[in-house]
């Protein structure tokens, strides 16, 4: 079933996720229409339009400064924290609701759109407190419920067996890969619909990276995942759809297979084949 690819198009062998999971009929969880974004006077995103399908993994790739993280941080309005940063045109809809509508409650939005950061940032508290943080600030106090969520989330993040005996020790005592999975478990615990991942493996060694990637694969059964990555092999391995950005513009967006095997745009081809970026 593998298509033969001209060596010039893909000089580097890439393992590509099977196409079967990516059904084109999947409902769009996030619709991004004609979005422009400014940091003060400088324009970071130009007229971005793409639909992110439900319960699939969508990867944003591109060289540094191409706007992929900016777009990701628009999806849960994390950019609100930056002075002078604003979406200057277009709209982003999640379940049909424009998230930049002034009536939208950002807190509610962020409960539904979780995020995992580039630099793993477990709070300097116990593992248990890390996982239950989201629920506790929502007022959940029942011990039984919290215990259940901790186990469920840690299992979901493939971490339960490693940490079940040290739940009340500081999360900072874990290894880098485990810390990042604590952050993923923490995001799962509030039961979002969408999980955004901003280069979740950039600080991890290959073994920890493989674990997180495997985890991403499992998570998409339940969550819509958007992942920003510098690592093209990672995008190829774990995403269903890939968007390639360059200088704040969306150059190409298609099935991961298409992007890596048969890109329509010469810039995409140059990037995925490692000739620039």
């Amino acid at each position: 079933m593998t298509e033969s690819v001209a060596p010039s198009a893909a000089p580097r062998p890439l393992a590509v996720a099977p196409v079967a999971a990516a059904s084109p009929a999947a409902r769009a969880a996030i619709e991004i229409d004609d979005v422009d974004f400014h940091y003060g006077a400088s324009k970071a995103l130009h007229d971005i339009t793409l639909n992110i399908p439900e319960r699939q993994v969508t990867a944003f790739i591109g060289p540094s400064g191409c706007g992929k993280s900016t777009l990701l941080r628009c999806l849960n309005r994390m950019n609100d924290l930056i002075d002078g940063a604003r979406v200057s045109a277009g709209r982003i809809r999640i379940d049909g609701v424009n998230i930049f509508d002034p009536r939208v409650d950002v807190i509610e939005l962020r409960k539904r759109v979780g995020m995992v950061f580039q630099k793993s940032n477990p709070f300097p508290k116990s593992i248990y407190e890390n996982i239950t943080y989201g629920l506790r600030i929502q007022g959940q106090k029942t011990k039984a419920r919290l215990d259940e969520v901790v186990e469920h989330s840690l299992r979901g993040a493939a971490l339960w067996d490693e940490v079940k005996d040290r739940l009340h020790e500081s999360a900072l005592g874990l290894s880098g890969g485990q810390q990042q999975r604590v952050c993923i478990a923490r995001a799962i615990a509030v039961e979002p619909e969408i999980i955004l991942m901003d280069e979740p493996c950039s600080a991890l060694d290959p073994i920890a990276t493989a674990k997180v990637e495997e985890l991403i694969h499992g998570l998409k059964k339940q969550f819509t995942i958007v992942i920003v990555t510098h690592n093209m092999q990672q995008a190829a391995r774990c995403s269903d759809r890939t968007a390639f950005f360059y200088l704040g513009k969306l150059i190409e967006y298609a099935d991961t297979r298409t992007i890596f095997m048969n890109p329509a745009n010469p810039q995409t081809e140059a990037y995925v084949s490692g000739r620039f970026g």
Binding site: G134, L172, C183
Partner: protein, 350 residues
Amino acid sequence: MKPAPSAFAAIFGRPTPAKRVETGVFWLLRLCTYFVLLCAAFIFWDIGSKGGAVVFQSSAPFINVPFLTESPETLNVFVRDGREQTMGDRAFRQFKAEHAAEMKGVAVETYVYSAGGIFPNIAGTVLLVLGSILIALVLGVLSAIYLSEYATEGPFIRFLRLSIVNLAGVPSIVFGLFGFGMFVIALDFGVSLLAGWLTMAFMVLPIIITASEEALKAVPQGYREGSLALGATKFQTILTNVLPYALPGILTSSVLAIARVAGETAPIMFTAAFVMRDELPWQVQKWTDFIFQGVMALPYHIYVVASKIPQNEYTRDVQYGTAFVFLFTVAAIAMTAVILRQRLRKKYQW
């Protein structure tokens, strides 16, 4: 024939001018540091030896208990049976009543504040420090949270910050006069604990605000983002995920503030301090009396016994004893804050 000098031989060569300057600078810096240390050591040795002699004694209970538990009294000195007798005022009155006939015509010299102890002063200083630090911490930390977490950088906020820093440069006597005009007279608090608390709180606010803001800024941004991304409000984030990690730094600022508040005489001499008062601070009818009463305080007592009364060999003991107890009290309060900080650091390690 001399061998040609190799490049390697230069390593063992004579000192160059640059090397001599290097040595000179090293010793200059070293001696300056040692000189400072020497001055500090002399002060502590002087107060420690002379004050220690007043506070400690060679026989049980080894501590001069009356000095730490009684109020200041007038010392009466007279000659009886060819021997010099020294007595505090209360004891002297009783003695005089019992030996009325014998005491007739005996010359008695009196030295004000040279007998008794300094207990009300210790209590007053502790109350002044705790109250003003509490007020300054609440006001200061809330302002620091606003400046660090909420305020948008702009000309106005820059001006605000500059004003706060400038406040630190205002001489304490000016704060004293401000407190006198504002709290004692305009708000009619009278010479009272409350007026002293507020005056000194304003005096140390710049230290607390500046240091707290630095402590808040030092908390990694990732903790804030992580918390917000889980659907926490900004205030929840600050309360649960920023402020706790900044507390050790904030406590450092309060240690500095404690030292300053406890040591200042100028701000309290117009606003809170009494030279002499018979009741202890807690001998009041209702709580409003508590905050509207003036208190005796250690630094002001030192000022009084060192410059406002005739000097003699009896006042010297009071001066050194008070200075010694004063240093010890400030150190004890500051140490409490340091221990608290250590505990918090252990709890929130990052």
